[in-house]
């Protein structure tokens, strides 16, 4: 597989390919005949870079722009990126009236204007806010010719309905493979309608505007060559993408040799192959399985203790693997809390531990994942959701280590499949069962049994 991959990589110039798509997107956005342009961006394909670049080009073209993101963190991040790229460009950050509505880091920045009133920011080349805040702006009070809607697949159709009156045209950017938006109450009554308010903004947009140009960023710059094929095949079966780097471009090494323990062996396996499965013996456990939690914490501790260094296309010299380059992903908040506590006991402080929902859009060198189905007596729709596993398995630049109890394959096989079917609803692929099996069987090749 490696030799075939290398041969293909030689014929495929990721940089040129990505640039070609980006040019087409910008062309369609700036001079295209359509009111909307949709861009699918797989994990780490340069979505943020695209958004920043599109924003700057539109600003340069003198087209006032509003940017819609989904969370305050995403908005702040975009503001910072824009400011970093073009410190002289006036950027408006529209925020809510809550006490800490935005990152305090924005306060001191020249040319970044903060306000909770859209009118106060009117006329600026770029104004950025969350969908929720934009929803409170009246179309009669403010209007933009152009918008960029970021994370559009995580935005609900009804949220788009509240903001779409503010702009004439828009560039919609997002990752279709991540977690779908959801509703806490039943919305079956509208299932199959083109404007089902609980569906994603993109599905409504495309149902009503089937002719819109759709692009796909073809290259993941984050995922290493060891991960892109698996993530692409398992989660993006109809829209494959490639890694921007080759197998030799990234290397993870450790100064301290393995002590032969399970955690060290799985770290070495992951450093070598990009993936590692630390398998604990089969046992049914509650979500905060103490052994699994301790195993996760131990792996993190060892990652930091063994003097890791990452070599990549970004730097000529090895970069130390520090706490801020490592993250832990879980399915549930209480699991994240338990891992944090276990890490604290081991004296680890600065490693991010969060749920899949909150890790969306983030990037690390190494991730340690507590498998959503580990130790569970039953698989539920929540745990089988492809987007959850996709987020967890696609945050890393070098390696991903999964901690899991044995027996998940049997659990999947015994899972009943009696889902209801709504007429007119497009079937979403892949289904969780297949995606989970695909990932599991790949991980099985990098399995290390737990041994303290």
């Amino acid at each position: 597989m490696t030799s075939v991959g290398a041969a293909r990589a030689a014929a495929f110039d990721p940089g040129a390919e990505a640039a070609r798509v980006t040019e087409a997107i910008l062309r369609d956005t700036k001079v295209g005949a359509h009111r909307g342009v949709v861009v699918d961006s797989p994990p780490g394909a340069g979505k943020s870079t695209l958004v920043v670049r599109a924003a700057l080009e539109l600003a340069d073209a003198g087209r006032p722009l509003m940017v819609v993101a989904q969370t305050n963190a995403q908005v702040d991040d975009l503001v910072l990126r824009l400011h970093e790229k073009r410190p002289d460009l006036p950027v408006g950050r529209l925020h809510s009236s809550d006490a800490d509505a935005y990152d305090k880091a924005l306060e001191g920045l020249d040319n970044v204007l903060l306000s909770d009133k859209a009118a106060a920011l009117a006329g600026l080349p770029v104004v950025i806010s969350t969908a929720a805040k934009w929803g409170h702006v009246k179309p009669s009070d403010a209007h933009w010719e152009q918008a960029i809607v970021d994370e559009a697949y995580q935005m609900r159709s009804d949220a788009l309905l509240t903001v779409a009156g503010l702009f004439d045209r828009a560039l919609f950017v997002g990752d279709p493979g991540q977690l779908d938006p959801f509703s806490v109450v039943g919305a079956e009554q509208w299932a199959g309608l083109s404007y089902d308010p609980s569906a994603s903004a993109v599905s409504t947009l495309l149902a009503h505007n089937p002719g819109l140009p759709q692009h796909r960023l073809p290259v993941s710059w984050r995922l290493p060559a060891s991960a892109a094929p698996l993530v692409s095949a398992a989660f993006y079966p109809y829209t494959p993408f490639r890694a921007g780097t080759g197998h030799d471009d990234r290397r993870l090494s450790f100064a301290v040799p393995s002590d032969g323990s399970g955690p060290d062996r799985v770290i070495d396996e992951a450093a070598h192959s990009g993936w590692g499965l630390l398998e604990l013996p089969h046992r049914l456990t509650p979500r905060t399985d103490p052994e699994a939690v301790r195993a996760v914490a131990t792996v993190v501790r060892r990652l930091l203790d063994r003097g890791g260094a990452a070599v990549s296309e970004r730097s000529d010299v090895p970069v130390p693997l520090t706490a801020d380059r490592v993250a832990v992903g879980t399915a549930h908040r209480d699991q994240a809390a338990a891992v944090r506590a276990a890490l604290a006991e081991l004296g680890v402080r600065d490693v991010v531990v969060d749920t899949a929902n909150r890790l969306q859009g983030r990037e690390y060198d190494v991730t340690v994942v507590l498998h959503p189905l580990s130790g569970r007596p039953d698989a539920t729709a929540f745990h089988l959701e492809t987007g959850r596993l996709c987020v967890l398995a696609s945050r890393h630049r070098h390696a991903c280590i999964v901690v899991c109890r044995a027996g998940v394959a049997d659990l999947l096989d015994d899972h009943p499949s009696t889902e209801p079917v709504q007429l007119g609803v497009t079937v979403k692929f892949p289904d969780g069962w297949e995606a989970n099996h695909a990932v599991l069987s790949h991980l099985a090749e990098h399995r290390v049994p737990w041994r303290p």
């Binding site: 929803g135 409170h136 309905l161 509240t162 509703s183 109450v185 009503h208 809390a337």
Partner: protein, 547 residues
């Protein structure tokens, strides 16, 4: 299923009877609800077979369709149903109170004060099960577009005068039933399983007879809940009929095949004989046969609905024995507004509800239901320690004693109080950095910010989560509802020794962004809907139509 519910159900298994899932009643119960026990014909969409309806437990009205495939008989049934439901509904329309509110002035767009009518009380429909709610919704859909001879003299099969109006009301009840916490139309199985945890699954709880068997087992017969539930599910008389007929609207196939089908056949024969009668004398005798056949079907329908009717009222008795939760009237006011608004739409001659919501209406309904769900979850927890217990267990609330209060102030020109309150709790709240928490102060939420937490015996501190078991000291900063002065208003700051409950969820969820008017539906959602016809077209009527 939450762990605390699982535990309650397991306790029910051990005890042989249902255990409380609530300590107070979380739904409004009308003094005089209208109970509807409908039956439908198998295999047909919304072809009613009959119903028991009424507000008087001892005098239900029996409605029967002796031949469910006969259009005229079905129309007669619907007309009768309208005769029961509409007077009941309309009896609430006239008693109103005036409520002051604000409204945008159509001329100036400014908010002006207006007085609005609010019906003092509202009707309440109770059906045995969720399938009953679904069936009323279906009846609403099938009748609201019908045309009466008045509306359309040309129509081939005119509906009885009040039937389309019945359809509009049933549709309204059906839609309102989808709003969490609403009480205009309720299913008894939902009501009971909200308040009791049985020793069976929630799937099995949808059998009204079995559910009641767990909640109120016939101890006098020496049966446990499980045994009585089994009898309710499967017990049959020597003729093979279920002792406890299904709560409907679907009937038991054994009833259909062995009793109902032969009776309908006899009815059909009697009718054909009557139609073929050659003279008045013969007709008289044949008419008697027909009436007898009709009466027989009526008795069959009564025999299948009466046990359920009794069960619904028994359920009401059980629920009435629970004290009403304190925030129930607040939610019932929402139901009253909903009723009043529909009353006004009917009175102003608006057309029936469309078949399919437009984009804006759908989004509005979803937003409202999400808000009502959040409100319901919060209110039930605030009203009921048993519901709160589940939220405490999941780390979404905590209860504890105030052990220290230290005054601090904002460093602003006019300093405001920001007291630091330390609460000792045995709960394990999931408090993130600067998390907001709320407590109920004179019925209104007071906000505090999480500052720090540590184990009482000196464990880890700071923001974040603590895993060990012992008591926890949580430091909070109170940030609002202390009045305008430098010193907090009397009673607005917790005192040492107070036992308080803080929640991580909001008590009064905020409304979301305003949606555009339908005529301003944006291009992303298909643009404005095409001009709606003043009256949506009736369903096409064909020879073989069922309704």
């Amino acid at each position: 299923m939450s762990l605390i519910t699982t535990l309650a159900r397991l306790e029910a298994i051990r005890a042989g009877r249902a255990q409380p899932a609530a300590t107070v009643r979380h739904r409004h119960l009308a003094e005089r609800p209208l109970v509807v026990v409908p039956l439908t014909t198998a295999g047909e969409a919304g072809a009613p077979l009959g119903a028991l309806v009424g507000c008087d437990r001892d005098a239900p009205r029996l409605l029967v369709v002796p031949q469910p495939r006969d259009r005229d008989l079905r129309s007669a049934f619907l007309a009768e149903l309208a005769d029961v439901v509409l007077p009941y509904v309309e009896s609430f329309a006239d008693d109103v109170e005036l409520v002051e509110g604000k409204e945008a002035d159509p001329e100036t767009g400014r908010q002006v004060k207006v007085e609005r009518e609010l019906c003092a009380d509202a009707p309440q429909l109770i059906v045995p099960s969720r399938a009953g709610v679904e069936f009323l919704r279906l009846l609403g859909r099938s009748t609201r577009f019908r045309r009466t001879a008045d509306q359309d003299p040309e129509t081939a099969y005119p509906a009885p005068p009040r039937v389309p109006l019945l359809g509009r009301w049933l549709t309204h009840f059906g839609e309102r039933a989808r709003v969490p916490g609403s009480s205009l139309l309720l299913a008894m199985t939902d009501l009971l399983s909200r308040h009791w945890a049985t020793g069976q699954s929630s799937l099995e709880d949808q059998h009204l007879g079995a559910l009641l068997a767990w909640i109120d087992p016939p101890v006098e017969e020496g049966l446990t809940g499980a045994e009585a539930a089994l009898r309710a599910e499967l017990g049959r008389d020597p003729e093979g009929q279920l002792l406890c007929p299904p709560a409907g609207p679907a009937t038991d196939p054994a009833f259909d095949n062995r009793l109902l089908a032969p009776a309908i056949e006899r009815y059909d024969r009697a009718r054909s004989a009557l139609a073929a009668a050659e003279d008045g004398v013969a007709a008289d005798a044949l008419l008697a046969h027909l009436s007898e056949a009709e009466r027989e079907i009526g008795e069959l329908v009564r025999s299948r609905t009466l046990p359920t009717w009794e069960n619904v009222w028994r359920g009401l008795d059980l629920l009435r024995a629970l004290p009403e939760a304190s925030r129930v009237p607040d939610r019932w006011t929402g139901d009253r507004w909903s009723f009043t608004a529909h009353r006004d739409r009917v009175a102003s001659g608006e057309p029936p509800q469309p078949r399919i919501d437009d984009a804006v209406t759908a989004a509005q309904k979803l937003a409202r239901r999400e808000r009502e769900q959040a409100k319901l979850d919060a209110q039930e927890a605030l009203d009921d320690p048993l519901v709160l217990a589940a939220r405490r267990l999941t780390g979404e609330a905590f209860v504890g004693e105030v052990v220290e209060v230290a005054m601090t102030y904002t460093e602003t020109k006019r300093p405001s109080p920001r007291p630091l309150v330390t609460v000792r709790t045995e709960d394990r709240p999931h408090l993130g950095e600067k998390a907001k928490v709320f407590r109920s102060l004179e019925g209104k939420p007071q906000t505090a910010r999480f500052v720090a937490a540590e184990e009482e015996d000196g464990g880890a501190g700071g923001a974040g989560e603590v895993s060990a078991e012992g008591p926890l000291l949580v430091v909070l900063r109170i940030v609002d509802r202390m009045g305008r002065g430098k010193e907090p208003a009397l009673g607005s700051v917790p005192e040492k020794g107070d036992r308080l409950c803080f929640t991580l969820f909001e008590h009064e969820p905020r409304g979301g962004p305003k949606l555009p008017d339908p005529e301003n539906t944006p291009w992303t959602h298909g643009g404005p809907p095409s001009d709606p016809a003043p009256l949506p077209a009736a369903d096409p009527v064909t020879e073989e139509d069922l309704l």
